[in-house]
Amino acid sequence: MTYRNRLKMYFKKPHNVILTLLFVILIYLTVVPMITIIIDTFTVHQSELMRIKGSKVGSFTLYHWTKVLFSSISEKMFYQPLFNTIIVALGTCLVAILIGGTVAWLITRTDMKYKSVISTLFIFPYIMPSWTLAMAWLNFFKNPLVGGAPGLFTVLTGVETANWFAYGQFPIIMVLGLHYAPFAYILIGGILRNMDANLEEAALLMKASRARIMRKITIPIVLPALLSTFLLVFSSAMSAFAVPAFLGTPVRYQVLTTQMYRTLNGLNPGYGYIMALIMIIIGILILSMNQRIIGKRKTFTTITGKSSNIALIKLRNGRLLVSLLVLISTLLVCIVPLISFAVESFIVEPGNYALSNFSSIFWIGSGSPEIANGEPGILRNPSILLGLINSVKLAVVVSLVAGTVGILTGYSISKARGTKLASIVNNLAFFPYLMPSMAFGAIYLSMFAVRRGFIPPMYGTFALLVIVGSVKYLPFASRASIGAMHQLSGEIEEAASIQGIPWIKRMVKIIVPIQKASFISGYLLPFISCMRELSLFILLVTPATRILTTMLFQYNEKGWSQYANAINLLIVFFVVGSNLLVNRVTGASIDKGIGGN
């Protein structure tokens, strides 16, 4: 066959065309930025001219690397934050797996009460922005160290919280742990639910005790999922920015992300790029480990069977106690923070919870000069309105782009299964998942700040936010779609193509309607993630493109906590509301997309 003919035949298949396009685009949007950032760590930047003597902008230098890794300031600037990052990530994993795993086990394997309420509410912290709990923590436990008013806890009990309890490592770990507990719950619960109950029953019939079954059967089988949860939570916790920024800054507790924000926003972008690069490398290492574990232990994780008729463990006398305990703690984590935001956003003088101190000025006030520089209430504040519109617009556009490209990615990868190109594109589409959001933002900042070929400088444009968001959330959509396509036999489409039904119609009338629920999760996940995303966009927004999350961060930095609380409530309302709406209308749910059932 001639080369030309072969090419002609190859591109006759729509999935090959899509794959090739995706390959080119994804190389440009993921690999090229990687290279840019590596080069950036070796070049002199405008703001660094003063410090690197006798240099010109853009010339080669080892200054950044030596300063970050081998100088008198590296301890404070790099090694300590790195160490803190690792401690925080490990602690987060421990908390998340312990809580999430326990709840997953209770729900799938015992006769605990209120299961449906708990399983619905328990996902909430993951849907809500991660700093929600951090702000709630501050609302409750802040102490006068940073000035201003004490938290609710101190007001109610008169006990002043210790510094270690209010700020820094401990609360960061707790808050991140609670935030990622639902993630562990979904992954571990999914395995427990899919695991053939016969495996446990077989052991039971051989007179093994429950504890022994747990130790010798259940845990070994769940272990790959546990490890995989561990690694995913570790890499997410490592790249968390908002929580350490909220809870760590008052006591100068720095992690890599907060340090990166400082350096990139300050005078040392070169340092920041190095940290970004190191975080990406750690991320890649962790996720390739994860892939190896899943790959090797595949036989475990794909065990399926009917566990619906498993004999649930009777909690007997403890049943009510355990049920209530779990229910109340779930409510404490999910609902109470929201109430605290509501309360805080109505209080004029922070810390004074007298009824006379309540006011709606932060919501609907027109603004008075003595409070917060005359900033009007958030519902009549034009700049917040702009932020809200931008946020929604961004989330919608990003979810449309990421969701649609995700469907096409999943479609073409599963159609061309086994080919080299398909596996390359598969990896490219997953690559953004490995990159810490802040680092990803930094890369795009570095790459698109200047003109690149025919692409004009895009810094400060809305389009840049859309691109960065779409690429970052593509993995969510493409995972959901690959999963859906794998379940769909190829014959379903062939049955149509043999009758002469064109490709577009096959997609729109057959494939998409059949896997509607999964595809909608592919749109929903990017939407929600985008609505609550801070670290990805924080380096890229300008006043004209500001979004709610970045405004919240700024208000909080200025200490105007009432505005921050009110905005947070607004975001939570939007995120949870849209999730519930989509869930109700289409039956698609967020946990479907992350691997639950």
Binding site: M9, A495, S497, I498, Q499, G500, I501, I510, P513
Partner: protein, 370 residues
């Protein structure tokens, strides 16, 4: 009239060869079965003719029109080959009703509504599924789904129908029923059927010609009874027929000019070729194939044997007998049973025993035994 011609078709997946240099012609109106064990390339062959898979090399002609040629760079898409395809798992669209499943392809061909309606009703009547037209596939039994799939495939009136193990998901009883229907359908539609199966009984009972494949290579392409009686090689003999053909390893020597003296520690026989002249070297290793129904069990006979086991099923009884160290499977028709351990006599009275060369496994001749 459509005639399908494959010329030197080869399909490679990476390094492995799925179909190896296959050349065959399927005449108009035939019912061809592509038969072979799993992984022999039969489904790939079918999909290549239908246009769902692209061959690596070779040419395919349908109705004397070249639909694929690797040299000329021709690859006509499946919908322009005027073929129908029945999938193993039916591939019904789960979100469409039975009616919609059948009409969807017609709507796409821009037929007007009334004509579509007429056609759908005609098909559901023919396949006896009128009462289910408003149901969704998940609300139908396997057999009903199969009928819907057939109706959908027939809707656009293809002259050639491809079927990929369409009955393998049905239970035994339903499968029998559908076999009859398929054969009737073949006569009614006067189309060419190409059928993929790994079930030799299905291939035997349905087809006008069997195409037996092994590891991508064509083994034999002939009518079922010919394949059964005159297998081209040991593989074919062993694959076709249930219970399996008996194979006895023998050492052969020419005696009396044409006959072959077969020796084995347990059994000595003289083979008289009837189909072709056998030429072998001294003490050549051979394989003797004896169909179970070609062994006569009785009180009289030329060889002593002992009943080893019996499997009576009413219509027939499968009896294993032991001659010294050899165990042979025989079939006795009728509701008879034998006591295990009983001494009996057997004889070989047919003229359809086959002899293979052990090394090349090629058939040398068929003939009589004495």
């Amino acid at each position: 009239m459509p005639e399908i011609r494959l010329e030197n078709i080869t399909k490679r997946f990476g390094k492995s060869v799925a179909v190896d240099n296959l050349t065959m012609t399927i005449n108009d109106g035939e019912f061809i079965s592509l038969l072979g064990p799993s992984g022999c390339g039969k489904t790939t062959t079918l999909r290549m003719i239908a246009g769902l898979e692209t061959p690596t090399e070779g040419e395919i002609y349908i109705d004397n029109v070249c639909v694929f040629s690797s040299q000329k760079g021709i690859d006509i898409s499946p919908d322009k080959r005027n073929v129908g395809f029945l999938f193993q798992n039916y591939a019904l669209w789960p979100h469409m009703t039975v009616y919609k499943n059948i009409s969807f392809g017609l709507e796409n061909m821009k037929w007007d509504k009334e004509k579509i309606h007429e056609r759908v009703i005609e098909l559901v009547k023919m396949l006896k599924i009128e009462e289910y037209i408003e149901r969704y596939p998940s609300e139908l039994s396997g057999g009903q789904q199969q009928r819907v799939a057939i109706a959908r495939t027939l809707s656009t009136g293809p002259k050639i129908l491809f079927m990929d193990e369409p009955l393998s998901n049905l239970d035994a009883k339903l499968r029998m029923e559908m076999r009859t229907e398929l054969k009737r359908l073949h006569l009614e539609t006067k189309s060419t059927f190409v059928y993929v199966t790994h079930d030799q009984l299905e291939a035997m009972t349905l087809s006008t010609k069997i195409c037996l494949l092994k590891e991508g290579l064509l083994q034999q392409y002939q009518p079922p009874l010919e394949v059964y009686r005159n297998p081209a090689n040991f593989f074919v003999a062993d694959f076709v027929g249930s219970p399996n053909i008996n194979i006895v390893e023998m050492i052969g020597n020419i005696v009396n000019v044409d006959d072959v003296k077969l020796t084995n520690p347990s059994l000595n026989l003289i083979f008289t070729p009837t189909s072709k002249v056998v030429s072998i070297s001294e003490n050549q290793e051979l394989l003797l194939g004896i169909r179970p129904e070609d062994i006569i069990i009785g009180e009289e006979g030329s060889f002593d044997a002992e009943v080893y086991s019996t499997l009576p099923s009413g219509m027939e009884t499968i009896v294993k007998v032991k001659i010294n160290d050899i165990i042979l499977t025989c079939v006795v028709f009728g509701d008879v049973d034998f006591k295990v351990g009983r001494q009996i006599k057997i004889s070989f009275e047919s003229s359809k025993y086959v002899l293979f060369d052990k090394q090349s496994e090629i058939q040398l001749s068929s003939g009589k035994l004495s």
